[in-house]
Amino acid sequence: MAVDKKKLKVVNNITPSVDGKGIMQGRSFYTDDLAAQGSLVIKILRSPHAFAHIESIDVSEAQKLNGVALVLTYKDVPHVSFSRAGQGYPEPSPHDKFILDEYVRYVGDEVAMVAAVDEETANEAIKLIKVEYKVLDPVLDFETAYENKSIIHPEDGICEMFPIGFEPKKNVAAAYEMEVGNVDEEFKKSDVIVEETFYSQAQAHAMLEPHSSNARLDEHNRLVIYSSTQTPFHMRRILATTLGMPVSQIRVIKPRVGGGFGGKQAFHGEFFCALTTLKTHRPSRFVYTREEVFGASYTRHPMKISMKIGAMKDGRINAIDCRTLSDTGAYGEHSLTVFMIVGSKVLPLYNKVDAVKFGGRVVYTNHVPAGAYRGYGAIQGNYALEATIDILAEKLNMNPKRVREINSMKEKETSPIFEIMGEGTKGTAMIMESCKLPYCIKRGAELIEWEKNWPRKKISDTKVRGYGMAIAMQGSGIPFMDMGSASIKLNDGGSYMVTVGATDIGQGSDTIISQIVAEELGTTVDKIIIYSSDTDLTPFDCGAYASSTTYISGNAAWKAAQKMRARLIKEASTFMEVKPENVEFDGKTFVSGDKSISLVELSTKMLYNANLQQVQVTESYYGHVSPPPFMAAYAEVEVDLETGEYDVLNYVTVTDCGTTINPMLARGQVEGGIVQGLGMACFEDVKYDKKGNLLSNNFLTYHIPTHKEIHKLTTEFADSYEPTGPFGAKSVGEIGIDTPPAVICNAIYNATGVRIHKLPITPEKILKGIKELKK
């Protein structure tokens, strides 16, 4: 039954973040703030070669250095292949990584580890390790990777957990094909066909807190890991399996996390901290340098996407064929899942087609590994699809907004893709119970004055404003796979302790879950004490990824709060000696006829006086569907025709994410996503030299958007209610990032006539295009 949004007192109301004040005052504790005193400092010797075999390695000098506690090479660590992707079990990513290996597969890959009393000593010891490499031919162009004579993973002992198209001898990490109907037959019927190829680049997460972890042994000699992670429970499982330890001997604590964006779904230094502490019985800590964050963690998967779309004269799209090649770099974390999203969370936007085909490969190269990054697959697919839609519209001589209106998803509709494609596995059929995309398109057009402004407005002889648009969708968790849970404990005095495995990584899930619990229990957020996440103390949660926290963990918290409410009414009825069904509870007082008892009194009595017990409930939730949030985005871009430089003057979005649990945090998610997406669209670029050395390895060579580039963001939400979501909510964490590459590409085309097929859209490329048009 739908909740009346007008009656909500906490949810859908602006509520300050529960932790905002403390964080600003400096009382927040991030992973490295919590490292034990006297921790050994861990440093890694990294490969100077893009691809090489370690012929010999001599660590004797390093070991002799005063202050060095431990040196590890591939000879000293368990030879167990695993995936660092940080996914559920069994993982849809290949097990192609060893803690340390005799091969190094990118510049920055781990060669050896040193743990020493301080950083200086560790760095000194690193220099004393003598390595003889046999340098191999690297694969640095992903279009040449397939069946290349250089095989990046020639080693034994690597595997897939279930069929994902893993063919390492051909440099293939994963492959996938699907077809609904027969696209070739449908294209024969099309009046108009467009076919375009787009390239999207690697992007760096650039979260401000570097990857950090530390380890210690507790008084039971159990291994305690503090980690800046999005997936503490997966980490516990994967550490246990890889190190050959029981899960019961490992505790993973996620303190405050300084930004993740998918980059902290995967694991970084945790294995080295664990091994150091287990072997030396001393605490250890590992903080990536910024250079390591850029050069030895993960990037977004670069892709080549060819999009072929057929349509009838009236604008109806009848067939789409999408061929994709993805570069997973040296290791295959998220290779298949990111790849499949290019189809599964992009192509259903145009669900009226008679046939749709999607497929291709994910190949290994000797680049920094690609991994999960906010909006993964969707942003790459959206760029190719939504730019091609504009090209199609021009060929049809139609307004691109009209093409989208005719063909896009509407409420109560579906797409066959949902059932066919999941994340690495089969998908789940679903009907769009909430889809305000038509409203989003209409409202966004009003805000940017589309009908008046599109396609361009001349400002002067050298300045033109172009207008572009795109639409997008995402999901809300992975059905039947992602699970979250929440426990609520009643304290004396009538407050509640909420423990959740859901990982707040800055997106505000602690606040959102507090709001959901407070709303259901008729109380205020200040009566909620929330704690996340700790594998010893909090119930399980798959972690913060796949746009799942508000929907999955939020639903778990809502269920737990409903259970707590029923339980409190039952206990109050016992005290009042009345029937539970006759008890009313307003959050403060239980009333039945002329009898009443306050929550404060009830909660205190149950701990000290009568009917003695701890009232605590736990509930879990997993999705049966993954309701997509939708968005329409528009931009006004001013281009200098003499230089190719441009400014994004206004970026307008209207989002349907169901009920916004916290309207300001939802805005923060959308706008934060847009700005990261604009970074990718406009200038962010992971660059290598010809030998595979990373050139963009600090904030000076890898520029992220600052206050100087970002002007006006106009952000609105549609009035929408998702019946399966907590108080009607869907996800909002990723949708914001999806549209900027396509929107900017379309706006630049409308301003200049130059279509950029390769991200980022730089002034140089635009100017070159302008000059070519003049020829």
């Binding site: 602006i14 300050p16 973040s17 932790d19 905002g20 004040k21 964080i23 600003m24 005052q25 400096g26 009382r27 927040s28 504790f29 991030y30 703030d33 997460h205 650039a206 979260m207 401000l208 807190e209 570097p210 405050r256 996390v257 300084g258 930004g259 993740g260 964006f261 340098t289 910024r290 990584i505 800055g506 997106q507 505000g508 309207p663 300001m664 945090l665 805005r667 923060g668 959308v670 706008e671 934060g672 847009i674 700005v675 990261q676 600090n698 904030f699 000076l700 992220i704 958007p705 600052t706 206050h707 100087k708 970002i710 002007h711 006006k712 963001l713 952000t715």
Partner: protein, 149 residues
């Protein structure tokens, strides 16, 4: 070597290595509110005030600070609470790793400028990166804080 300076108006005397930077010295002495994001003065997370001016503490040699006044967020608790209120109101709160640096730089901005223009604000804070927010919310929050008496 020993260096003496004023930390939030309290005189302190720290034993340091000659090449040590301020962020490291203070974190080693338990001032964990200082966040180090890049260690090469390009992200602004470690900002604190030296003689009232915002500086990136990862790149200031501690040995150069003899007799100087250093302010961390512990020294501007009430102002940080006010700034937080403005951030909350505008939805500028996210992971928080940059927040302490922002609190200090915004506090300094307010003391240095009367009615700054948008461009002046931008120039003042551009060295403090934030990867989470839409940045526009920061601007709104900062303007609101600047307006407060």
């Amino acid at each position: 070597m020993i260096v003496n300076f004023y930390l939030n108006n309290v005189e302190v005397s720290y034993s340091i290595k000659p090449g040590e930077y301020l962020a490291e010295t203070l974190r080693r002495h338990g001032v964990k509110s200082i966040k180090v994001g890049c260690n090469e003065s390009s992200c602004g997370s470690c900002t604190l005030l030296i003689e009232g001016k915002p500086m990136m503490s990862c790149s200031v040699l501690t040995a150069s600070l003899e007799g100087k006044h250093i302010t961390t967020v512990e020294g501007i608790q009430e102002e940080a609470a006010k700034i937080s209120k403005c951030f909350s109101k505008q939805g500028a709160d996210q992971c928080g790793f940059c927040n302490v640096g922002f609190a200090l730089v915004i506090y300094a901005l307010k003391r240095e400028y009367k009615n700054p223009t948008d461009e002046e604000i931008n120039n003042y804070i551009v060295g403090n990166l934030c990867r989470c927010s839409g940045l526009q919310s920061h601007m709104k929050a900062i303007k609101e804080y600047l307006k407060e008496e």
